[in-house]
Amino acid sequence: MNRLFIKTILAGLLVTVLLSGCWGKQEIDERAYVLAMAIDTTDEGEIEVTAFMPIPEKLAEGGGSGGGGGGGGDDQPYFTVSGKGVTVAHAYSNLRYKSKYLPYLGHLGVVIFSESVASQGLGELVDVLERNFKVNRNVLLLAAEDQAKDLLEVEVSAEPNLADYYRRFFEDENLDDAKFRTDLGLYLVQQADPGQESALPLLRAKEEEGKKTPELVGAAVIKDGKQVGRLSFHESRGYALAAGGTTRGVITVTGFGESDEFITLEIGRAKPEFTVEIKGDQVKAHFSIELALVTREFTGEKLSEDLVPKVEAAVSRRLKKDFEAAFARAQSLNADILGIGRLVYYKHHTAWSKLQWDQVFPAVSIEVSVQPQLNPLGVTK
């Protein structure tokens, strides 16, 4: 036998050993892809983790068309399963006994936790997510008014995958709905940055005609990793525009012409900006926002030129009111969700080092300037 033949045989054997499988392999059809997760506390004080997962065979059969959520009904392509434990990781590990599939977090898209969990502190939950390499930083974080797992059992028309539903709902910005998006990465950065607290969209499972549907009710305010209060729906709108990253969407106003006239405007561009002035321990903030608006619907006869400044003034009033309400709530909770402290930290660091922000923030005065520019033309008229 020549050397080449021996080498070929050896190479073949090596390839057979090295490339024919994986060490500690997990077959794809043995995995349960956790798409959404809900964290609650039980009456016994334990942590309860509920996972929302697809059933691959039923997805392939096209099951679940026509809507519905989790819960694991016979026809549903998704199911939920819960585990309890003294820590989040412990509860999660107990999920394994409830399903024939091995839970896998690589496709986790949404994490919802109840207010009772949030008020005790999110540190442990976030630690679990952060330590797991498979969990991406763009996982959407949501808070639930009651039981978080209820939001994984709601029914949404034409979308059985609730993780996808929640992600799309918050991606599609709409000022009237007070939507904003806080993902794991943003939350971690906000909590690490000095002078910046976080707000998370707050939802509840509303029961109507025997069906549960999700409803956005406001925002949970998180300070130093714990929920310290809430923003109402109206306050959330102000937060979404000023600091929640909402730069598109629609806004509907009234009170500019005849009493029953409404106008729905689409925000083409929004440019919010905060500035601060510091004199001793007095901090004065200025919030300004420029908005380019396009008319989408007007319920009156004709949007005449003399109405344009009146509409702009109405938009300005509405947004100013929303923002001031959000700011007042943040001050009353002493939680700087608008990031004015962060602005001081980065842009006026010398002054920051002399300030006790927790004592300064409730006394910060603010000036608001909203500059809408309305284009009265729609697409067809």
């Binding site: 090295l18 994986c22 060490w23 763009n138 950065v189 690490a192 930290y345 660091h349």
Partner: protein, 367 residues
């Protein structure tokens, strides 16, 4: 056997960029927090100057091998010290690379795979490549290099929309308690430049050595700075302080809309594996080169022997602990390697003149 200037540049850059690529923003933050980029830039410039000076000396002394060049400068006995330093450095880097490799892969890609298998496969591939000689190494790295560069550029381009510009304001610029540790990590990230000492005799056009030395440091420096600025911009210095692999978190925070790849972090992990692999190839090559220049042994025995020894050292239970314990000391020692040694050679070159001597090359025609 000769290599082109482009191949020499790719070899040097690949030897320089290693495991530190994922942690360098953290190293910068450990030094001066808000201006993490500053020590990376300063050490880059310092390394660039020292390597440029070294290239000048090498050009002056012509295409001599490391052993001849070293003995010509420092005499027969002292002249053995430079190759010895390179050998010891290389022998320490191999198990360190293998330990780091296992630490990351066991948390990311190969969860249940034992260390001996991960490290063994990696070492075997590296040793096999080294045994084929410098020309083959150069050609393989020439293929890997643009792929890596393109992938880094893609991720950073996609990540730009996540940058929060306020994070880049120079707030909280103060020397940190962890500065020494951070400086050691940064220095280690530039340490491969000294291998120009070995690559120089193989250069087809030795008059390009200075230009190669400049680009060999500039390219890693630009990549390190881009990754650091992106990491600080996206995560902020305060968040980076808490993270082991900040560069990986940039990719985890980034999504390319409409792209078919959902997990960009996997790209960074693969890039990191490539960087670690090319560095391992470099150090195994250097170790084998020095041993072969001293002893008349079969090349394959030496390269495979180094691989087996490194593998045994890497899988010993105390290696990871030892490496962690002495990583700062080890990193600080690289200051001597990358900054001190070129300067000593440069100074010594003023009172030693080049003489004609025979050449001996690894993997070449005059073995």
């Amino acid at each position: 056997m000769k290599i082109t200037s482009h191949q020499a540049l790719v070899l040097l850059v690949s030897f320089i960029i290693g495991g530190g690529f994922l942690s360098i923003p953290g190293a910068g933050v450990k030094v001066i927090k808000g201006a993490a980029w500053a020590p990376i830039l300063l050490l880059g410039v310092a390394n660039l100057i020292s390597l440029y000076l070294l290239a000048g000396v090498l050009q002056k002394f012509g295409g001599r091998s490391l052993t001849e060049f070293s003995e010509m400068l420092f005499g027969r006995l002292l002249g053995k010290i430079i190759p010895l330093i390179l050998l010891l450095f290389s022998l320490l880097v191999i198990p360190l690379s293998l330990s780091v490799l296992h630490d990351l892969t066991s948390n990311t890609l190969l969860l249940a795979t034992p260390k001996w298998f991960v490290a063994g496969t990696f070492v075997f591939a590296a040793v096999y490549l080294v045994d084929k000689g410098l020309g083959v190494i150069a050609r393989v790295l020439e293929l890997l290099f643009p792929v890596g560069l393109l992938a880094v550029a893609t991720v950073l381009f996609a990540a730009r929309t996540n940058i929060y510009w306020l994070h880049l304001y120079p707030a909280d610029i103060s020397i940190q308690k962890t500065a020494v540790e951070g400086l050691a990590d940064i220095s280690f990230s530039y340490a491969g430049g000294i291998y120009l000492l070995i690559l120089f005799p193989y250069l087809q056009r030795q008059e390009n050595a200075k230009r190669i030395s400049v680009w060999a440091i500039l390219l890693p420096m630009i990549i390190y700075l881009a990754v650091t600025i992106a990491a600080v911009g996206i995560l902020g210095a305060n968040e980076i302080e808490r993270l082991t692999w900040p560069s990986l978190e940039i990719a985890k925070a980034t999504d390319i809309e409409a792209a078919f790849i959902h997990r960009l972090d996997i790209i960074f992990v693969v890039l990191w594996l490539i960087a670690l692999f090319t560095t391992a190839v470099g150090v195994i090559f250097v170790a084998a080169y020095v041993i072969l220049s001293w002893f008349n042994i079969n090349q394959s025995y030496v390269t495979y022997g180094i691989g087996v020894a490194a593998l045994i050292a890497a899988v010993l239970p105390n290696t990871s602990k030892f490496m962690q314990q002495y990583s700062t000391t080890f990193g600080l020692a690289t200051y001597f390697m990358s900054l001190g040694l070129p300067l000593i050679i440069w100074v010594a070159s003023f009172w030693r003149q080049p003489q004609q001597q025979k050449q001996r090359h690894y993997g070449g025609e005059q073995q």
